[in-house]
Amino acid sequence: MGSTAFVQGGIPDVLNVSVSRATERELMQIEETMRLGLTADEMKLIQSYFEKIGRDPTDIELHSIAQAWSEHCSYKTSKPVLRRFVFPLGKRAFATGDAGVMEFDEKHVYSLKMESHNHPSAIEPYGGAGTGIGGIVRDILCMGTKPIALADPLYFGDLDTSLKELSPGEKHPKYLFAGVVSGIRDYGNRIGVPTVTGGVWFDDRYLSSCVVNAGCVGFGTKKNIVSNSFKRKGNAIVIAGGLTGRDGIHGVNFASQILTATSHESGRGAVQLGDPITKEPLINAVLQLTNEGVIDSMKDLGGGGLSAVVGEMASSGKFSAVIDIDRVPLREKGMLPWEIWVSESQERMLLSVTEKNLARMLEVFDFWDVTAARIGKVESGGKIVVTHLGKKIVELDTSFSVKSPEYNRPMQKRKLERQKVKSIDMLDELEVMVERMLSDTNMSSRDWIVHMYDYEVGGRTVIKPLQGIPGHLTHGDAAVIKPLEDSWKGLAVSVASQPWLSAVDPYQGAVLAVDELCRQLASVGARPDSVTNCLNFGNPERPQVMWEFYEAVRGMADAAAQMNIAVPSGNVSFYNDGERGPILPTLSLMGVGLIKDVRKAVTADIKSDGSYIYMIGKQDNRLGCSELSRIYRTGDVDYAPVDIKRLGSLSSQLSRAINAGIILSCHDISQGGLLACAAEMSFGGDTGILLDTTDLGRGDVRAKLFSEAPTRWLIEVPPKNSEKIVSIFGQHAQLLGTTGSSKFTVMDNGSVKYSQEVDYLRKLWESPIWRRMGSS
């Protein structure tokens, strides 16, 4: 069989593919030759479709279906789970589509979306991360909203991994980390969208496959929100932005496979090339057209290229799209029609516009020096038609070609190993432990990254990612954006993830991530309003991975529903897997909170001497799944679960107290527990803290300090406001200490357990990433 399956059918550059009467083996040979990424069953479905319509497909038709049916485009594995748990949580959205759109005030909306760019970043970290930003920004843009903030959760192998430990094809985490951060820096800074928050996690289980998620928040007006589907017969179809080349061909198939030792060579052509200086004018032009009401509907070209975007815009089934492939502006000569059709070249948008508005659209693109061309027309019916040299080379029913089969893949619950929990008595003395914890790369300062991102371009970042006295900046919980010049209302943005707990119990891990997100948003005085997500998992054909995915989605949805947080958008990335096995189950969340008056927001840095430090929440000295248990390997299974009801009441009380102006600073207790939280607050204010842990129950002072029990914050309060705090929080407010002096001191049961200069601790905390990564 082989090449005999491909027949010249009379149209140059296009081959007919003989699928009728082909055996399964022959079908799979075709699949392999064309690198379609389809299963035998899927090939048979295609075969019977064409047998029914009585002809063989063209090569471009097969590619078209394969793109649409890839896991990346179709969500064929995740959709049944998402439909059950997550889609109902999008109801409160003002609009959904490429990004979720939520109400901000009577006239305005904000939008949010997060996406993964894991596979490309593992091959080419700089370009992969940059185009990740490019893609997410287009998602925001094509809702008719302006991108105003970026957030990037990143996950790599341990930076101290020795080269010997790497398998063939694996790249060193330092190389990937440096490349990804500089990719985000150069793309985000160049297009002028501030990167306001993020996170980075290091673990060996990301060695074979790093995770790079990019989130974006947009802002706009209700009346300018644009649909992602064709809405009107007779409209012109316009492609605008970058030229189409051979980069990124089969990117979606590549993203729907596991990485192997040879992917790094063979996958290179699947990595797209970004160009922020084509993007920046494209953003301006599209926003101008949005404001003028010229655009009827639009969608960005991402995975699957034109093939996917035309299919998705026509997926309602009411309209047909007729595309003249010869009109697509190309970057290189000699591209075959199917290559043009599936190319994932960056910085492109597809727009639908009425004949009346077409001239204005082309004029605006021309002013911004953005290439734009009319390539087709919207008609009635439910077909995708592509012509080449005046002849039809694609004619597919959207009811078939863009509706991939769905899968309910088998699941298997992971059995937890019985662990013997190591007693804390066996571990380091408190003094050694504090230093080891604060200088761990998962806990230490992220300023090496943050100062490379322009976090305030746009002049809207009121609360920045690093907070405190200049020269003594510390980590904050959430950034706050003031999107309107004439309103004090603000948006708080933060990210959260709990990969280690998720590895033990993916349901609880997801719930804890929602807890963390709400804590962080409440910490600045905001009310959590919506959350978007990136669900990064291994190969879903492993029943255990499928179970992890199912449980994580269920956990996120349960927690979000109970907190009344909308989930208007999301993203799934499977096949983050390799010879070492799957990555940690990685649910990245990006949440947005609303704050009525940004002037009421507080930051994490201690503001003055002589204040009181209260803990809000409930202490629980169990140490499972904490930084301490991870570093000292004391066992994971014994941890404090989240009480969502308590989260709901405490977070709303807290944000009310902050808005009432009775709290000076606030920081949520997360990685590293009470100790890390208090230390970071003290770093930012360059002021000592005296903590007394006597009242935190019986137990070792180390457990009290390093437990990561959920739903807790530390707040700084002027002594005169003490009564108010107690009356608001009751038993959930515990006075733990005071601020002042240059020392960080811990007392327990009447004696000083630890005392050290703040400056000394600060240096320990500040240097780990700098020391490993150097100055750039």
């Binding site: 020096d369 943050v450 100062h451 490379m452 305030e456 200049p470 503001k607």
Partner: protein, 285 residues
Amino acid sequence: MEEDGFLLKTSDIRVAVLRIEGTNMAEEAAAAAKGSGVRAEIIHLKQLEGRCSPAMRRSLQDYHMIVIPGGFSSGDYVRAGAMFASRIKSSIGREFMNFIDEGRPVLGICNGFQILVELGILPSGGEKGEMLPRAALATNLSTRYECRPAYLKNVNRGHCVFTRKIPTGTLLSVPTAHGEGKLTFPPGKSDEWVAKLEESDEIVFRYVDDRGNFAGYPWNPNGSFYNIAGITDDTGSVLGMMPHPERTYWRYLHSDWTRGDLSGNMHGDGRLIFDSAFDYIVSKF
């Protein structure tokens, strides 16, 4: 520029915020100007060159002040600012120089400063340039992009119009965000240049630490010679600076505003630089 014999009011001042592709900080610069009650318009260089519809055509003659804001004009893939500068030179170069000769203020922020250096307008040292660069804003000493809070000391003795409302010696909090901001003179000529600039009072801002002392990294984020953050020209009406005054135009944009009281005056430190120029325009035109 005469307004029919009437004195110019602040609200009559027209500011052109000049951009090309990749200039991504025009909006906040325009918002800052508007915050002071002047009229600000973002215009693309094409509109001055006439490469646009007649309705969009603009002329520099219609403006009292130009702001060249920050960003990555044309991607800054060559030296930062080099492309924008060469496009100005080859199209509206003469008009631009006339604008300066008439004493109308030009503010170059970050990428705008880089452009003014590439145009040869800054540094001046008491002389008119030949539209050829005489210094460079080189890659930061750290080799990193540096987005961070910074403190500037106004060291100008009165020559620069952008510090009219700022007493000499005042400390301002104005943050930076750039990868190429190290003011560098030709090899062996640094001391000579600094002496010249000092003599003609063309140094405006120098990086200091939080106590007002001249200090090294990270207070001087780029390793700029003599801690220079901003300079003016022989006319005193041009200011090029790497830090971003529009980013502390309002108090709530300062990185540490939560440490103070926000109930009173909302004006941030950066606003003084804009207001000084507007004050000068009102007095002069």
